[in-house]
Symmetry: C2
Subunit: 351 residues, 2 copies
Amino acid sequence: MTPTGGAIAADEQTVSALGEFGLIAALSGWLRSISPADPRPLVGIGDDAAVLAAPDGRVVASTDFLLEGRHFRREWSSAADVGHKAAARSLIDIAAMGAVPTGLLVALAAPPDLPVTWARDLTEGLAAECARAGATVVGGDTASAGSILLATTVLGDLAGRAPVLRSGAAPGDLVAVTGPLGHAAAGLALLEAVHTVSPTDPPAWAASLVAAHRRPQPSYDAGPEAADLGATAMIDISDGLLADLGHVASASGVLIDLSSDRLSPGAGLQAAAHALHPFLGRTERGSGPRHAQALAWVLTGGEDHALAATFPPGTVLPPRWDLIGTVREGDGVTVDGQPWAGSAGWDHFRG
Amino acid sequence: MTPTGGAIAADEQTVSALGEFGLIAALSGWLRSISPADPRPLVGIGDDAAVLAAPDGRVVASTDFLLEGRHFRREWSSAADVGHKAAARSLIDIAAMGAVPTGLLVALAAPPDLPVTWARDLTEGLAAECARAGATVVGGDTASAGSILLATTVLGDLAGRAPVLRSGAAPGDLVAVTGPLGHAAAGLALLEAVHTVSPTDPPAWAASLVAAHRRPQPSYDAGPEAADLGATAMIDISDGLLADLGHVASASGVLIDLSSDRLSPGAGLQAAAHALHPFLGRTERGSGPRHAQALAWVLTGGEDHALAATFPPGTVLPPRWDLIGTVREGDGVTVDGQPWAGSAGWDHFRG
């Protein structure tokens, strides 16, 4: 496409041309050139294993997949978007325990014809999102596969805090959330609808919703903040608010009741529901099908990576935490005292 | 195949019938029922992240892929074999740093039609291999994929030791190895040859070689032992002796020279080379093509997961460590002072 032959060759070089050791060397070099100097691992990429400081004497760890076709499409997300998203999905799991992320390990399987530039941009996205969270990419593995697959493992430090589990919610507790709800699901629906018409970007007013799908921006420091405020339970909203609060309710042996008037979809979700009305299946709930769709995104849309937590009665919460309900005796999750009739979130094996 | 309808139904249940949350619940239940009581993670499977003790104040971490079609075939390895192998590949990376493995996280992508019994047997293999190393399965993730893919991340504790890197070898050091060399490669070649004739097991005399491919049994405690003996560099032999010692030579800025008379293939490898002679490409090296093939397995066969280490001159090594060469000034790896002319190991993107 460009007249500069050298640039073409560089742009079109594939990971198979580098070979496995060449790719690992390239990944290491990119990370050295773009990673912040701190926090520096004690032993980084290039040995049998990484060594990180764990000053608390405990280490927090979590693993997540990010799969092409399932969690992203190369035609809808840039390589940097995918790197940010893969890192964010893992990093927020550490925050949801009340801990601070320290290091990320990345297992990357990719087709041999993947452009080297794509791998480089992915790496930069991973490193940049880690830097947002105060962490560093410290290791990984590569393999050849038919499509792109990332398995990210994040480590974190509790800095003396007790981990905030899913099992500590008690009747009377407040339920609060920080971060967007339903934006990523609406953004994905917009991308799907637009691309059924033509391979273009959604309209400008939808940019923040599409960005929420492509590159969620969790508030990592909200996790330790909640722990310091005495949170009794906490969870990352990855599968949808109802599904994830269902895990808290089940683990804690309680009922969580949400107030729909605290979950009103914002103008962006309303506009998306309006614009997508011709594309979406009809529902008859709520104050009309368009409002019902917007509320469904809030309640069941996954991948925003907001944090939900329960707090003892009377806790004074910082402004970024929105009260959305209360904990009661019983089991399950209700909205205004009633079970929610719609879908309850993602299931990777059935979805 | 059996007349008991109920048993058939149970045996043939697939992971898609369980669903993602059902599969995770089943995996957790199997692990609780089969894992040893100690070491117990502070927070185990079922929350956003696991919490493990890191008494040293540092944590060692490594991630590895194990891919169907690349590292195993379901028709050649049992599910338990695959679990043992996936865990062993990761656990030995921790030992190669001089550390003790503590916990394993497992990301499992599998086809929706995978039998639940296969997932259960895999889990038992993972847990049993962790128990061999003194570690516990503490978390993971699941996803749907076209073939089985495992990404395992292992954590470990240095217990006050300095990590043994690849970069510390110095001229004059001894080079030693513990564990089999070439057995897994010969076992895989036997499986490939036998299955080109009929789908049967290799002959009984080949059982230990085939087992080395299916279920490597690394000596995890040899890693901390080497560290305590003053090892200057150490590496897990996963890609082949020459390739992996090449990493040590490169990182340390030295030449490693191996003595072929210390690397003589044993009777099993000789027998395999003899039996496979009709199937293998001819070579003209060494004392005849069959000996050359057996020696090639020793020098370039991957996946045995032996440990190689360098030690200061005069170190008295326990019997399980075999002296195989010396460190000199220069660069690269030689055999009897000469470059090795054959293939130097696996490359996942070119292989």
